[in-house]
């Protein structure tokens, strides 16, 4: 693969990578560093990318791994702790306890807070699916885990977010959308 073709394709994903880096780091300077480092690593390892059509997922995989390395170096193990997603029954009960109208009326800031309370592996899986639009197969490639695990994490993540939203609603902690008269 010619370097110029690879580089042109890789640069086409810069905006998505930067937004993902912002979501992961929550800091502009850290996000810039992360994207810069992602492209440096990508350039070094470009021979490993056999199919240019998978460039986007490949770049996200590099970005996530660099972010995880950064968390480990920064001793931010708490963010890496895998929080169990709960039983199937508990997850189903959490979805049953909330209705679609309530979810639709919830402000994005509240959903984001609920996502932030998830373990990294659950949060990343559901964001890659719902925000970035990756398929389960691509997410499995990015997160280096089986597709079945991706499927489970996404379902559990949705249940945990539902549970969190309901909990905050009951304590009056949600910013609700104003209803027009």
């Amino acid at each position: 693969m010619a370097t110029d073709t690879f580089w042109a394709t890789a640069l086409g994903h810069m905006s998505e990578l930067f937004n993902a880096a912002m979501a992961l780091t929550r800091e502009r300077a850290a996000a810039e560093d992360l994207v810069q480092e992602t492209y440096r690593v990508a350039l070094e390892r470009q021979e490993q990318l056999r199919d240019l059509g998978r460039c986007r997922a490949w770049l996200f995989r590099i970005l996530r791994n660099l972010h995880l390395d950064s968390l480990r170096r920064g001793h931010r193990q708490a963010e890496l702790t895998v929080i169990p997603g709960g039983s199937e029954e508990a997850a189903t009960a959490a979805i049953d306890a909330i209705d679609s109208g309530f979810v639709t009326a919830t402000e994005p800031i509240d959903v984001r807070r609920a996502l932030d309370r998830l373990g990294e592996e659950f949060r990343t899986a559901v964001i890659l699916c719902d925000v970035e639009g990756f398929t389960y197969e691509e997410i499995a490639e990015i997160m280096e885990c089986p597709i079945g695990t991706v499927r489970s994490r996404i379902a559990r993540a949705r249940a945990r977010v539902a549970e969190s939203l309901r909990g905050r609603s009951e304590t009056g902690g949600l910013a609700r959308k104003e209803k027009k008269p």
Binding site: M1, W7, M14, T92, V103, V131, A155, R158
Partner: protein, 241 residues
């Protein structure tokens, strides 16, 4: 709530369109007769939409964009944060500089053109001025980019519109064409925008040559021509575009 044995994971995967054809059909039939699962699916769909709405759009910082788009090895780069990263060790620095030195001669103008084209080919960038009239589009460009723009008539292709762009710091015209299902980008730039040395080097590296057209891996075909005081680069994604 009446229990139902359909796993939440299956309903969640259904919402994501990740079930096989048979399983999806089976779930659809099941939903027709099971209000419990139908409600769960509605909630999961709402959850998916709510998470999607959390997306924040942050413009890419100009400095970051420029440092990656036009790699340089001079002192101007050293102030950027990458220097902090590579300062971890002198060996590491050498590796980075070597990588950039491989890239620097090849990226630049052509890389930007391919990047712009691939975005259009993949998503259909909205035209700043949409028209199928080639002459009218050329006049529209000429009034805005500071030089006379002439757009080529391409066999079996039709113009769909265009937008202004900046190539290597100079105003340029980007016209969109369609040939069947294939999208084509036609860049009209002031003469000299594409350095002769870069053009010559690319010609040598291209996988195949046909006249002034160069084929690159990835299915891109670039054709170069001149018109008056302008140079024209046509890019087409061939194969599965």
């Amino acid at each position: 709530m009446i229990p139902c044995d359909r796993p939440l994971e299956t309903l969640s995967a259904f919402v994501d369109g990740e079930l096989g054809v048979q399983e999806e059909l089976e779930i659809r039939r099941h939903l027709d007769g099971c209000p419990i699962c139908a409600r769960r699916v509605a909630t999961l769909e709402a959850m998916k939409g709510a998470v999607a709405r959390t997306a924040e759009i942050h413009p890419v910082p100009h400095a970051l964009k420029e440092s990656l788009r036009v790699p340089k090895l001079d002192g101007r780069r050293q102030g950027y944060r990458l220097a902090g990263l590579v300062a971890a060790g002198s060996v590491f620095v050498l590796v980075v500089l070597f990588a950039w030195s491989r890239l620097a001669p090849r990226a630049s103008v052509t890389a930007q053109l391919i990047s712009d084209h691939s975005r259009y080919a993949a998503t259909g960038s909205p035209a700043e001025y949409a028209t199928s009239d080639r002459e009218r589009l050329a006049r529209w460009f000429s009034e805005r980019v500071g030089f006379s723009v002439s757009l080529p008539a391409l066999a079996d292709a039709r113009v769909t519109g265009g937008r202004r762009c900046t190539i290597a710091g100079r105003k340029a015209a980007l016209a969109f064409y369609e040939r069947g299902k294939h999208r084509m980008s036609v860049f009209v730039m002031p003469a000299g925008t594409l350095p002769a040395a870069e053009r010559e080097r690319l010609r040598k590296e291209a996988a195949g040559e046909a006249g002034d057209c160069l084929d690159f891996s990835g299915g891109y075909r670039l054709c170069f021509s001149t018109s008056g005081d302008t140079e024209v680069v046509t890019i087409e994604t061939r194969g599965n575009a």
